[in-house]
Symmetry: D2
Subunit: 137 residues, 4 copies
């Protein structure tokens, strides 16, 4: 199991809704910000991986909402690789309010590595240095 | 179990991403469009329910992606109430490509009815006509 | 000058913000929905035009806000071609509340036709049937 | 004229579209991030201003696109107050690619200070310390 990787962001006005809190799908956008920040941190910018012809679409996701995030609050997105066997990868996330560490939401996203024709690829072979850093079976 | 309620929409350019397909969180926005359309269909516009002081935040969700939706395609969002005991409600969804009926994604959202102070309310008592139409225990 | 082409939509919860009204950039998303609906109406789906290798990026835009749109309201987006000389095209828009015809916002977007390498193309030559339908100089 | 205030952000995958570049309305979201960061920098968080009962809706905007921003690039949003007489305020913006300083887009947003009933208010009287810092006539 990898340790949590942390990414900071501040809630945008655009991310709120008429309930006065963050619209629920934005946590999933933040999770995406977290996982690409984690990859970049490991020296593998997702933009570069895509340029090599590999994509990482989401196949499944789940999210659980605990407390609402509000406009202008600072949020810590915590991300880790929960499983990665070269072909499939699962990320786990927590969104935490920076001011008091309160857990706001947590979730998981499940992905398959594919090529530009959406055929599965094994990153253990294609990008062994990525697997070496993130592999968790 | 309620039957599926169907809502039509067309994929917007804004909903696509650089993978050339619909960005994954937009299916959840479509599910929201589906569930509020279902409520409206039953004579209970969610905007009116909110004006009465009741809110329906998402507490949990899950989504499973089967095939990508693409720009300008017509999508049928199928929504039904899977569980509603007055206090909690669970909606199930399918997003289907209209042209050939292919299943693109399916998911569930879990909600609690609350008042404006985020305290739980029982809609069986507060809005018995809503419960009469949607109740599924 | 072309007549107004009308497209209907309903305000999504996701499009609102904590001010309780529609977040201002969503009118521009609606304008995009309007202009691609206008093209489709003229037998030229923008998805097909892109498949031929032509793109229509926005180079400039302006928007003027008159009255706020609110959640669940039905909106008519009125779109017309104000100028089209084959190379550049200008669309004008109005967003109108269906219930009472009130003008909510109006604006313009300016575009250049380009190929996939972002080089200008002349649609008078490349797609004369599009120019025949939309040309306004 | 105020000097430029600078805010950094990184392009999110969610902000791209199928053209492979940032969808055009996201620059306006970034401008919002820039102007609220400018207010916060001057000790007046917009979230606090709203809690006092004052709102700053956009009444008009314009944006001009020069070069496309791409996924994962770092962007500097430059913001300044161009006019502020207590009642109305105009912000000017530039979005610049951090790597080479290239101008990607520039624009302006026009706002009126209002109270929660959308009636105009004069911030020279209501929040003189804000006016003292930002006033430009």
């Amino acid at each position: 199991m990898q340790p949590w990787h942390e990414t900071s962001l501040r809630v945008r006005y655009q991310e709120t809704d008429k309930m006065g809190i963050v619209y629920h799908t934005n946590y999933l956008v933040w999770f995406e910000v977290g996982r690409t920040d984690l990859l970049r941190h490991h020296g593998m910018a997702y933009s570069q991986i895509e340029q090599m012809g590999y994509l990482l679409p989401v196949t499944d996701l789940e999210c659980h909402y605990v407390e609402p995030a509000k406009y202008e609050e600072e949020i810590i997105v915590k991300t880790k690789v929960e499983f990665f066997n070269g072909v499939r990868i699962v990320f786990a996330y927590e969104a935490v309010r920076k001011a008091d560490g309160a857990l706001l939401a947590h979730g998981k996203t499940y992905h398959a590595w594919v090529d530009v024709k959406m055929r599965p690829v094994n990153m253990k072979k294609k990008l062994p240095e990525l697997y070496a850093k993130l592999g968790v079976e």
